[in-house]
Structures are given as structure tokens and as C-alpha cells.
Amino acid sequence: MAMNRRDFLKVAAGSGLLLASDIGSASASTPETLPPQAVGILYDATLCIGCKSCMVNCKTYNSVPGGALFLKGRDIPYETTHYEQGIWDAPVDLSSRTVNIIKVSKSGTAVNKDSTENGYSFVKQHCMHCISPACVSVCPVGALKKDPVNGVVYYVEDRCIGCRYCMIACPFKIPRYEYEYALPQVRKCQLCHHRYTEGKYSACCEFCPTGASIFGKVVDLRKEAQKRLSLKTGEEYDFPVQTVDSKFTMRRQVSKYINHVYGQTEAGGTQYLMLAGVPFDWIGFNKNIDKTFLPELTWAYISKIPAVAALVIGAGTLTWAITSRKNKDKGES
């Protein structure tokens, strides 16, 4: 027997399990449609020149209160692993100090851009902001939430117990943990949602000089991505810079695209979309990600719990009633 979340809550409430809890907010935590005002990012690897301006500015603008990397008393968390006294920020992967990273994949002589033959391609990795995020559904305390309006998946530090189930559940390996601190936090891109009230948007898009990363409403970004896929290779196109509806555009020739928008269907759809000239698994993305909403996998189990509870209690009581009577009949009791 399966039931939907609302029914489950009714049953849970009816059986007196609902004591002093803020379950109302929990029930809304696994949405299955794109929020109306959902915002996101479209990254076009063919436009990326690997300047890492997005990385630098991500760290700068997220090290302020409300930002994804903010820690009281800490400066911008540059990573200088390779240079003990160095000033260079040189992360090699996402970490608790780097929530956005540009990586490069290359083969052979690596001279041809966006090619797997003696070529290379950049890729930008950060939180995908899933429509139905696995991390949000698995968090036992609701420390990861999805904004019901703009769809941003964000972190509420003071709820988090640090079980790290979000790290197991995320199919994109996004959440990272501050193992180095005694009071650690989960770190991930929060799409600069602390900047929206000032009328700003994601720093990585604001400071991208080529329009490789553009910010906007997901519906518009999806249209833009489809439009680019429909263009002919070599044709000229005015690529918007910073935001999808920007007046500031850059005219350049269209490169060859792989006919797939990464994030359109992966994990049921995400608010971060990607275009590239090379296959996505070549630039490090998992091809075997389910096309369905991941939270449904666990919900299929959880929804059976009330029925199992009723069954075990009923069958247990009945068995006891029968066996203890039998014992009495035998005069053993």
C-alpha cells in the first residue's frame, strides 16, 4: 500500500505521532514541478575561455554574511595547497572552500577547443539546483531547503547536525564538508541568493566576460539553450552576456554542439543547464543519473510504513492472544 505525502501526514497525525513538530514545512520539501519564478544558470562550454573570473568572484561575493562561504572571522577562503606562502587560489576540485570550479578535460596535444581528438573543453561545476533535490529530501532536520519561489537549494546552518547524508544522496557530488573544523558546515553553491534583495544575481554570471555563464529564469534559459542547439555551426549569433535577457550581447560564430542540454532531464531536471561541444561524460559528468525524481526512490519505502505498523501491531496482538489462550488451555500459563 502506498500513499501520498499528505495522506501520510494525516495518518501520522492520527496515530498521535505528531508532537510539537514543524512538519508543515517538511511536507512541502519535495516539489515535483519547476517553481514559477525559478532562476538558474546556463553554462555554454563552447564560450568559456577558462579565465576563472567566476571562481574568484564567487569566493569574494560569497564570503560576506549570507554568502555560501561566509564564516565569521575568516577572510576569503583561498586555497593555497600547492604554495605554502602563495597568494594563488589553486583549488583542483570542489571543496568546503570552493563551491564553483572551472575544470578542463583534454586529450593528446590539446590544441582543438571543444574537441575530444587532440582537444580540450572547459567545464563549470557547482550545485545543479535540482527541481526535486535528493539532498533536501534526505536531510533529517530540514537544513537543506528549496525556495518555493525561486527554487534555489540553500542551507540553514543552525539546523544541520552534520550527518552528511546529503553528500551520499547527491548524484552530482556537490555538497562538501568542513572536516577541518570542530563546528563544521556543509558548503555548496546557493546561487548567490543573498544578493537578490540588492537587485543583484549570481556573481559567476555577473563577472563572466564572454557570456559562458548567464543568469535568468529557467524557462528562458531552456528556450535559449534549445535555440542555440537549433543554430547551424559557423553561423553568427548574438550571445547574451551576464543575463539571458541582457541588452549586452557578443556576436560570434556558433560552435558545434553535442545535441543535449545537460540538466534538462538529469535527476528529473535541474535549474543549472549546460551546453558543450563534447560529450558530458568526457568532461566528468555521470551519464547514469536517473531521469526521474530521486526522492521518489525513498518515498516508495517510507509511504509503506503506516501499513507495516498497522500490520505488525495487529498480527502481533492477534498471535499473542491466540498463543497465550492455547497455553492456558494446556494449563501451563
Binding site: V138, P140, Y179, L297, I302, V308, V312, G316, T323
Partner: protein
């Protein structure tokens, strides 16, 4: 051997106390300096030894309590009454160990109570957390008569025996859900967990294998206690447990084969990969070999052979938990180039937990009436 004759301070106990003291220092170090300082966990390996053995393994090792309590109080199988207290005590200690370990494993031990007030019903981890708390309290209630007897509190004793059947039914329910939930934890990561173990059957296989492990743990502990404390071995109980093990082992074997055949295919276990080999070891040691041995009736009636079978099942099912929580994720986690092998401190804490369980059981045998009905 009389309770009075059990010596508290023996060379073995001294070693256990020493390990526990070291574990205490590790716990303190972890609290002061964080997980990074005490463990080898990293972003590719968020869960390690403590989750795989102390928590996921520990809870499975503690499955004996609900099975024997259910058999005695719900099914009224009086035969198993002599071991019900020992089984409950062991389970209680196992859960204390799992609860302590998870508290130290989470990043914010002092927020361990958060799930109790910040409900999130979509989360298996929330379900698991609620069950740990409720079932540990239930076990404390099931074990309380031993303490009430010792403390000479007849009114409390009478009250607990009146509600015992209800408490046991509740405990069976919680265990059923808790054992399967620990498998359900991994349902969310089909793209990470090797197909040798993943799939929608996982929670049910965790439950059935926990029952198999629980029966063998109880048998193992009964034989071991009998040897250490010089009791006569209760052969009818041991053969009964062995018969039960055979039935559950056959069921578990069918489930495992079905899962393999409908999932990655039988061939996946024989592809020579680390995961494939681990799967084969787990199946041979924990399921196939015990099943064949248990089918021979004369082996089921000999203490030594039962003891060997118990050890095989325990090793095999604990390996299964390691496979699901660690080795099954290795292929995926390894792609980022990060490796994991538990740190010395992780090993010390795990050993301290096991030492605690052994020593606490010994003390309860000495000071409480764990083995009633003239077994001494």
C-alpha cells in the same frame, strides 16, 4: 559457576578497560578538534568505519533481541525463555554502542536531538533517528526487570511485567522498520552504489539478513557465555535457533539471487572486479556455506559445528554491511581520486565500543539475573 565466582578483574577485562580508556581519549580529541583531525573521512568518503561497522553493522548485530523477545512474549515459545534476558541485554548494549557512535560521527554531536523536534518525514535518516531513540527506550524497558529485581523494587517490577507484551510488540515493530530503514538509506543513490547491492529490494534484504544474523548472534552468545561462565549448553535451544537460521538463510539466498539476476545479472558477480569478489565472499561465507552446513541434521545438534556456522554467518552479514556502506560505493567515490582507509583513531573508537559491549555484558551477568532458571 556461581555469579559470585565471576571475577571482574581478569587480564582480559584489563585489556578491555585499557581500550575503552583509549577510546574515551579519541572521543574527546574528536570533539575538540573535529572529524578531520580524528578520522580519514573526506568529501568522496563522507561515511566510513563508524557508520559501516558501529552503526549499520552494530544495529544488525543487535537484531537478536526483538526476535527472541517476540518468540517468547508474542508466540509464547517458552523454550527460549532462558535466553531472552541475555538477548535483550545484548541488543540494548548494541544499540547504546550504535547511538554513541553516530553521536560522535555526526559533525555536531551536541545537535543530536535536532531530528526529534525538526521533523522531516521524507528523510530515511529521520526515520532511522526516531527509531534509534524509541527502540533504545523500549529496550531499556524490556531490560528493566533485571534492574528492578536487583534494586528490590517489586511495584515497578509488577508494572513492567504487566505492560511487557505491549512493549515487546512495539519493539518488534520498531526493529522491523529500523533494520529495513538502514537498507533504505541507500535507495537514494542508485548511480553510486554498485548494482550488486542496490535496488528496491535492499530494505527487505537488510531486514531478512538482520534476522539471520540476530539468530546466529544469540546462538553464538549463548554458546560463548556457556563456555565462559561454565553453564550447561541448552541443546534444544541451540538446535531450534539453527533450524530457524536454515529457514531464514534459504529465504535470504533466494532474495539475493533474485536481486542479482534481475539487477546486474549473475555474471556481474564473476567479473573479477573488487566489488564482484567482495560479493562472492559475502555470499559464500555468510549465506551459501552456512545454508549447506545447516541442512545436515547432525551438524545442527553439535555445539561445535553450530558455533562455526554462527561465526560464518556473523562474518558474512557484517561484510555485507561493509559492502553496502563502503565497498559498493568505492567505484564511484574512487573516480575523484580520493581514497579512504580508517585512521588509527577510528579503529580505536570502534574497538572501544566492542570492548564496552563485552565488559558491560560480563558485569550484567555478574550483578544482574541475566541467566535465570537455574543455569548457574
Amino acid at each position: 559457576m556461581n555469579q559470585k565466582d565471576i571475577k571482574v578483574i581478569t587480564p582480559f577485562s584489563t585489556v578491555l578497560i585499557f581500550i575503552m580508556a583509549a577510546g574515551g581519549l579519541v572521543a574527546l580529541y574528536r570533539l575538540l578538534f573535529g572529524l578531520g583531525a580524528a578520522t580519514n573521512l573526506n568529501d568522496a568518503w563522507p561515511w566510513g568505519l563508524w557508520i559501516a561497522f558501529d552503526v549499520v553493522g552494530g544495529v544488525a548485530l543487535a537484531a537478536g533481541g526483538f526476535i527472541i523477545a517476540g518468540a517468547v512474549y508474542i508466540f509464547n515459545w517458552k523454550k527460549y525463555k532462558p535466553i531472552v534476558r541475555a538477548a535483550i541485554m545484548n541488543t540494548f548494549l548494541g544499540y547504546l554502542m550504535a547511538a554513541t557512535s553516530i553521536t560522535l560521527d555526526i559533525g555536531h554531536p551536541f545537535r543530536i536531538w535536532h531530528p526529534m523536534v525538526m521533523w522531516q518525514v521524507n528523510s530515511i535518516m529521520f526515520i532511522v533517528a526516531i527509531h534509534v531513540v524509541l527502540y533504545t527506550s523500549t529496550l531499556a524497558t524490556e531490560a528493566s526487570p533485571m534492574f528492578f529485581e536487583k534494586l528490590k523494587m517489586p511495584t515497578a517490577l509488577k508494572f513492567v511485567s504487566k505492560i511487557m507484551v505491549g512493549v515487546v510488540i512495539f519493539g518488534v515493530l520498531l526493529s522491523t522498520l529500523h533494520q529495513s530503514s538502514l537498507g533504505a538509506v541507500f535507495l537514494i543513490a542508485p548511480s553510486k552504489l554498485s548494482a550488486l547491492w542496490s535496488g528496491s529490494l535492499l530494505p527487505y534484504m537488510f531486514l531478512v539478513s538482520a534476522v539471520l544474523l540476530g539468530l546466529n548472534m544469540v546462538s553464538f552468545e549463548t554458546i560463548l557465555s556457556g563456555r565462559v561462565f561454565k553453564h550447561k549448553q541448552p541443546m534444544d535451544i541451540l538446535s531450534g535457533l539453527a533450524r530457524g537460521s536454515l529457514i531464514v538463510a534459504v529465504l535470504y539466498f533466494v532474495m539475493k539471487i533474485w536481486q542479482l539476476a534481475t539487477g546486474p545479472g549473475i555474471g556481474a558477480a564473476f567479473d573479477g572486479s573488487t566489488a564482484g569478489n567482495m560479493y562472492l565472499v559475502e555470499m559464500l561465507v555468510g549465506v551459501i556455506l552456512p545454508m549447506i552446513l545447516l541442512m545436515m541434521k547432525d551438524l545442527r545438534s553439535r555445539v561445535n559445528s553450530i558455533f562455526t556456522i554462527n561465526l560464518l554467518v556473523i562474518a558474512g552479514i557484517v561484510l555485507n554491511r561493509f559492502n553496502v556502506a563502503i565497498f559498493g560505493l568505492a567505484d564511484y567515490a574512487g573516480r575523484s581520486g580520493m581514497d579512504y582507509f580508517p585512521s588509527v583513531m577510528e579503529f580505536i573508537l570502534t574497538m572501544a565500543m566492542v570492548s564496552f559491549a563485552i565488559l558491560a555484558f560480563k558485569l550484567s551477568v555478574k550483578y544482574l539475573n541475566v541467566f535465570p532458571e537455574g543455569q548457574h
